[in-house]
Structure formats: structure tokens, C-alpha cells
């Protein structure tokens, strides 16, 4: 898949923006001062100004409707810089869910707000330690015009700063997303700092009043697909960065009177890693494009891309630490951040095992 001119321009400008305004050092600063909001606010404002928060919001709602390839290009740079933004939770998951399954009223209320960066949304799916959207336990019971929700959610990205929760719940036979006001009675949000220094809250819902969507089931499916595809791009980006930093180190560090990059044992590992990273990245971009084209096999491609990217990012993180030796184990050095994010991003919206299992189901075996 080759980028068109518009996409190429987006890639170049986003690469500059993220490197300038959202570098790894910001992640460290946010962590060290235990930032209240837990994300890089100046970066988020810059992303709003560049229109990136509206990248998946249709033009009639104030977005730029650039499509998932565009969102993937942004995510790839987020991965390279480990930028801390609510891009995934809001601009990808929230925007996709609302644009796909929101009622006209809901779309009018939320989509322009997402595009102009005035709200943050959080998707609450998992109600166990592992991502199992086919077996949601949180229950929705009809109550007047709306529903009441009961259940508990884990790994809800950015929930502690969210203005809107999109909660997956089971109503009879079907599972759908429902809109919940985070300040509504019965909602408890426990902010949890994660290994990658991002925030993923535990959310408890105790008889919470919620608003059904026009098509909450389609909203959930679309959000999961978009989220996994974009995560595959982010993971590929971080894998590439970890790889390149390691490659650089092999050209600098000397032992036994020579550069460690002269040892064939490391040369071959670096060569193999480059191959893995390139395949992961190519597959992620292809899957994003399949989504934009509404290809028949888009779902299969996305599951494959997420499974591949989760494994490759973890491999890149592990190899990066190992090839740096002692210094790779230190917090002062940035390389460990990539390993940490690889784990957390890999787990989010389905780990490699889960995605491979769904992939096999779709391929009838």
C-alpha cells in the first residue's frame, strides 16, 4: 500500500509535530510529577489545532474525515515518540463509535466537540482481566426511556479525565455500547497508573442511568476494529523506534576493542528485527487501508495486524533492552519505556492470542 500525496503530507507534518511537541521526555516528566490529568495537554492542544482530533469525524460534524490510514499515520508517530495523548480513546474510539452508531442528536452533541478538542471520551469494554467482548457481563436493563447499567470495567483508557463513557453492556442476546455520564450517580472511577505510565481506570457501575445509541452494537464493533487497527500502527511505530535506537547503540558501544555491532550474533538479530518491524508496519498500514476501502476481509486483516504488531513490539522491546546490556535495565535511560508500552498496548483491545483466535474463527477453523 502506497501513501497518496495527502497522506504523505500528513505523515510528514505529524512526524514533526510529535517529535517536537510530544517526545519521550514528556512522558517522563508527566510521570515524575505524577500529573493530575496524566496526559500531555500542550501536545493535545497542538493536535487539536492541526485538526488531528477530528481525523475520523465526518466533515459535516466539523472533522476532516481523513480515514483510518490517516489515524494510523498519527498513531505510528505517537508510538515512535511514546506521546501521551487521549488520541486513541477520544479521536479514534469515541469518534468511531459515535459516527457509526450514534443517533443524530448524539452525533450533533458529541462529534463536533471531539473535533474541536473540548471533550475526552473513554471506551469501557473489558469486564475481566482479559479482553472478551463476546462475553460481556455488564448488564443493561430497560428503565423508562433509557437503561440502567450494572457491572465493573477494567482498562478504561483516560476514564478519569473523560466527559463521556461509552460502556459495553449486554441487553438480552445482544451486546451494545451505551452512553454514560461519568459524573452520574453510581459511577465510581478508580484511576490506575499502568506499567506504561498511562492511565486506565477501573470503573464500577451501580444502577447507573445510561443512554442507548441508535445502533450500539455496530458502534462497538466499529470502535473495536478501528482501535485495534490504530493500535497495530502505534505498536509498529514504537517497535521501529526501539529498533532504530538499538541499531544506533550497536554502532556506538565498544567492548573487546570493537563496536558491538561487529559481532555477527548481534548483526543477525538486528537484521531479523528489521524484517519483523517492517512486516508488522506493512500489515498494519494494509489493514487500515482495508478498513477505509470497506474491504470484505478488513476484519481479518485488522486481527492479523494487531496480533502481529503486539508480538513484534514486545520482541523489539525485549531485544532493545538485551542489546543495551546493563544500561537498558535502568530507568534513567529511555529504552525501557518502549518495552513497557509494548506490553500495555499489546494487551489493549485484545492481546496476540485473542486476536489470533478470532482470526482463526473468521477463517473457519
Amino acid at each position: 500500500m502506497k501513501l497518496n500525496d495527502e497522506q504523505q503530507m500528513l505523515q510528514d507534518s505529524v512526524a514533526r509535530l510529535m517529535a517536537d511537541k510530544g517526545p519521550v521526555s514528556h512522558l517522563r516528566e508527566l510521570r515524575d510529577r505524577n500529573d493530575e490529568k496524566g496526559y500531555d495537554e500542550p501536545l493535545w492542544h497542538a493536535m487539536v489545532e492541526s485538526g488531528l482530533t477530528g481525523i475520523l469525524v465526518p466533515e459535516e460534524h466539523g472533522g476532516i474525515g481523513f480515514g483510518l490510514v490517516g489515524a494510523g499515520l498519527v498513531a505510528r508517530e505517537i508510538g515512535r515518540n511514546l506521546s501521551v495523548t487521549p488520541f486513541l480513546s477520544t479521536a479514534v474510539l469515541g469518534a468511531t463509535a459515535l459516527a457509526t452508531g450514534g443517533s443524530v442528536k448524539q452525533q450533533q452533541k458529541w462529534l463536533p466537540a471531539i473535533a474541536e478538542g473540548s471533550v475526552i471520551t473513554a471506551l469501557a469494554v473489558d469486564d475481566g482481566a482479559k479482553h472478551r467482548p463476546e462475553a460481556i457481563k455488564t448488564e443493561a436493563k430497560a428503565a423508562g426511556d433509557g437503561v440502567t447499567l450494572n457491572g465493573g470495567k477494567l482498562l478504561v483508557l483516560d476514564a478519569h479525565v473523560a466527559d463521556l463513557l461509552l460502556v459495553a453492556a449486554r441487553q438480552g442476546e445482544s451486546t451494545a455500547l451505551f452512553l454514560v455520564d461519568p459524573k452520574a450517580e453510581g459511577v465510581t472511577i478508580e484511576r490506575n497508573r499502568m506499567v506504561d505510565d498511562r492511565n486506565a481506570a477501573r470503573v464500577t457501575l451501580d444502577n447507573v442511568a445510561a443512554e442507548p445509541m441508535a445502533d450500539g452494537a455496530a458502534a462497538l464493533a466499529a470502535a473495536l476494529r478501528a482501535g485495534r487497527a490504530v493500535l497495530a500502527a502505534e505498536l509498529s511505530g514504537l517497535a521501529r523506534e526501539a529498533f532504530e535506537r538499538t541499531l544506533q547503540y550497536l554502532k556506538e558501544r565498544k567492548q573487546f576493542g570493537r563496536l558491538i555491532g561487529t559481532f555477527q550474533a548481534l548483526q543477525h538479530r538486528a537484521a531479523l528485527l528489521m524484517g519483523e518491524v517492517s512486516m508488522s508496519d506493512a500489515l498494519a498500514m494494509q489493514a487500515l487501508d482495508a478498513c477505509d476501502r470497506n474491504a470484505d476481509d478488513a476484519e481479518v486483516q485488522v486481527l492479523a495486524a494487531k496480533a502481529k504488531a503486539a508480538r513484534v513490539a514486545l520482541l523489539a522491546g525485549q531485544e532493545a533492552v538485551q542489546m543495551h546490556g546493563g544500561i537498558g535495565m535502568t530507568d534513567e535511560f529511555d529504552i525501557g519505556f518502549f518495552l513497557k508500552r509494548a506490553r500495555a498496548g499489546g494487551e489493549t483491545l485484545g492481546d496476540a492470542n485473542y486476536c489470533a483466535d478470532r482470526f482463526a474463527v473468521l477463517r473457519d477453523y
Binding site: 475481566g128 482481566a129 482479559k130 499502568m194 506499567v195 486506565a200 533492552v321 546493563g326 535495565m329
Partner: protein
């Protein structure tokens, strides 16, 4: 009853009577381990009592000779003691680098005076040791170390810097590789020196690990006086001691390191988080991963047993320690990866009470150091290629 059966019966009875109940619980984390030493604060009375009772028996170092504070047990008796301790889940009463590393090297290379000076305080848990090998420019290439020890007549004067010195800030004494002959070839001018970390001119700066703890340090020596009698083995022949000690270190790291997973099975942990269907783990791929891992571990343990038997028959472990170190640490890293897969979102939490302050993620990250400390996996495979396979140098 054979002598060994008799020994087993007595040991069992003694442990029953003397091992406090609290010391029969598996470690919750590495933080529960008793390191001993002058600065050690016991976490409970039970921990103190247990260490002292075992030290009185000489069982903190079961196979060391009695005259140096050890238990004087034969390998067979030591095996029985280990089995009986395992039977009641008894914790290791105390352990630190003095037991795993320095002790064996002193027993083989140390003078009678050095053994009498240093081994009994190790056995009693009174002195905690750290290892001063690595330097900023001497990691895998350890023999290129530059820390100097100059002969000043009645003492040596040590100047230089070490790095990645585990627990340098908590240890009482250091065993340290220093260059005593700058003109000799790389391996021939090194000596193995012992000195007190409270000596004037020693300073440490803790370095934080990716897991958030700070167990290792940069260690600086600025005109540190070291007694001439504190050299282990011959002057300028420290490399032999260093290598012998590394063999012990590698055997040890290759064993199951202390940590959350020590003595814990992954299957039940996974079932708790992933659930079961028809009596099987609900995640088929994870189930296969765990089974593959456990099979590899079983095969590794079988090989460990075989190598140990051969070592006891007098052939020594030698370069086989590189095999043990490589597979042991790579398997341990894999166990923590699979554990993280099994724990899902819960494993990622970094500070929550539920996860004992992010214990899972922290120990997962810490395990990454296993294939770096004590010689990297790449260096181990190099040793196997050259020393066991006889492959030529490039």
C-alpha cells in the same frame, strides 16, 4: 535405618520444632527475602529467630566446613535438608552474595586467615557482600577493567569506578576486581581484593531500575586503603578467582531466582484470570504456551540434575555453567512473559493495592536483567561455542 534416613528423621523433627510458622509461607516478593548484614532490619521476629537458629546449626551454609561456621554436610545430607525444607515451604533463612559467590571462591582460593576472618560472619548473616566487577567500559569485556590498586608498601591504594554494583549501598563489604599490574597483559594484572564499604573514599550512587527499585549503584573509589592481607589467591592472578566465582554465580542465577513466581505454578494463576471451559483454560493458545514452557522447564531441570551429578562425580560444572545460566534465565524471562499474558489488565497495574503495588509488572521487568547480570546470554553462548563445542575464534 540407614544414616541418611536417620539424618532425615532428625532434620524433619528439628525443622518442625524450630521453623516459625511465618517462615513457612512462600515469599510474596523479593522484598521478603532476608539479606542479613550490619544494616539489616529484620521484617519480623520470626525472620530473626529463623536466621539465628539456622546459623547456630551451620545450616545457613550447609556444605561449608564446620570450622568456618557451616554445617559440614555431605552433598547427600544437604540434598535431604533442602528436601525437608521444601516439604514445609521453609524460607531460605538468609542469603546474599557472600553465600552464592564469595564463599565458594574463598574456600577454594583463600588463605586460612581470610577464611577464618570472613566465612563465619557470612554464615551468621552478620556481613553482607556486594560484587565489584563491572565498570562503565568493562561489561562483557570484564578483563579490560581499569580500577587501579597501587602498592603503597603496607597497603594498596584503590582508585576507580564500578557500575551496576548490586546493593552496594546496602552491603558491608565488597569483593572487587582491581588492576595491580598495569603493564601485564589484560588477564594477568588483575587481583581479587576485599574491603569494607565503610572505608574512607568509598561512595555509592543508587541507579533506579526499569522496575522502579534501586538495587544497583555506581560505586566510586577515591584513594581507598586496602590491607595487603585482603587479596584472595595470588597477586595478579585474580582472574582465576573471578572466573571460578562467576561459575557459581551463573549456576545460581540459572536456578529459579527469588521472586513472585518462585515455587508458583502458572496454570492455576491463569485459570483465576482467564477462566476455564470444560475444565480447561479458556484461552487455548495461552494453555499451550504454559504447557510448552513447563515442558521446557522440566527438560531443563532434568539436564540440571544430570550436570550436578557429573559435577559431584568430580568432573566439575566448568563451562556447563554457561548452559545452565543461559537456559535458566531465558526460561525465567519466558515465565514472566507468560504470567503477564495470563494476568491481562491486572498485570499492567503499577501502583494498585490489589497488585501489591504493581508487583507483577515490576517483577516481569526485573526478570529482563537475568540474561544480562552475571554475563549476558550472548556471552554465555560464546562460551558454549568455544569451550564446549571447540569452535575456532574468528
Amino acid at each position: 535405618m540407614s544414616d541418611l534416613e536417620q539424618f532425615r528423621a532428625e532434620t524433619r523433627a528439628w525443622l518442625e520444632a524450630n521453623c516459625p510458622e511465618e517462615m513457612r509461607q512462600p515469599l510474596k516478593s523479593q522484598a521478603d527475602h532476608c539479606w542479613g548484614g550490619r544494616k539489616w532490619q529484620f521484617q519480623s521476629d520470626a525472620q530473626k529467630v529463623w536466621m539465628e537458629r539456622m546459623a547456630d546449626k551451620g545450616w545457613t551454609a550447609p556444605q561449608w566446613p564446620k570450622e568456618y561456621g557451616g554445617g559440614g554436610l555431605s552433598p547427600e545430607e544437604a540434598e535431604v535438608l533442602a528436601e525437608e525444607m521444601k516439604r514445609i515451604n521453609a524460607r531460605t533463612p538468609v542469603s546474599n552474595f557472600g553465600f552464592w559467590m564469595l564463599g565458594p571462591a574463598l574456600l577454594k582460593f583463600g588463605s586460612e586467615e581470610l577464611k577464618r576472618q570472613h566465612l563465619p560472619p557470612i554464615c551468621r548473616g552478620e556481613i553482607r557482600w556486594c560484587q565489584g566487577y563491572s565498570e562503565p567500559n568493562a561489561g562483557s569485556d570484564l578483563a579490560s577493567l581499569q580500577t587501579r590498586a597501587e602498592d603503597k608498601g603496607d597497603h594498596f591504594l584503590v582508585n576507580g569506578q564500578k557500575i551496576w554494583t548490586s546493593y552496594a549501598d546496602k552491603a558491608d563489604w565488597i569483593f572487587c576486581l582491581v588492576r595491580t599490574d598495569p603493564n601485564a597483559s589484560k588477564h594477568n594484572g588483575i587481583s581479587f581484593a576485599l574491603f569494607d564499604m565503610e572505608s574512607e573514599g568509598v561512595s555509592t550512587r543508587p541507579i533506579e531500575l526499569i522496575s522502579g527499585e534501586s538495587p544497583f549503584c555506581e560505586t566510586f573509589f577515591d584513594d581507598v586503603k586496602v590491607g595487603k592481607d585482603q587479596i584472595v589467591g595470588e597477586l595478579n592472578r585474580g582472574w582465576d578467582v573471578a572466573k571460578y566465582l562467576l561459575t557459581h554465580e551463573r549456576n545460581n542465577i540459572g536456578g529459579e531466582p527469588p521472586g513472585f513466581l518462585k515455587g508458583r505454578a502458572l496454570g492455576p494463576l491463569a485459570a483465576e484470570h482467564v477462566g476455564t471451559e470444560h475444565g480447561k483454560l479458556a484461552d487455548g493458545a495461552l494453555r499451550a504456551d504454559i504447557a510448552r514452557l513447563e515442558i521446557d522447564q522440566m527438560a531443563f531441570q532434568a539436564l540440571v540434575g544430570k550436570i550436578r551429578e557429573e559435577a559431584e562425580a568430580g568432573q566439575g560444572v566448568g563451562a556447563q555453567s554457561a548452559v545452565l545460566k543461559y537456559y535458566g534465565t531465558e526460561l525465567n524471562k519466558r515465565r514472566y512473559e507468560v504470567m503477564m499474558d495470563a494476568l491481562g489488565a491486572e498485570g499492567l497495574e503499577w501502583e494498585s493495592e490489589r497488585t501489591m503495588g504493581g508487583l507483577y509488572a515490576r517483577e516481569w521487568l526485573r526478570s529482563k536483567g537475568n540474561s544480562i547480570e552475571g554475563g549476558t546470554s550472548e556471552v554465555m553462548l560464546g562460551i558454549v561455542s568455544k569451550r564446549l563445542l571447540g569452535l575456532p575464534d574468528a
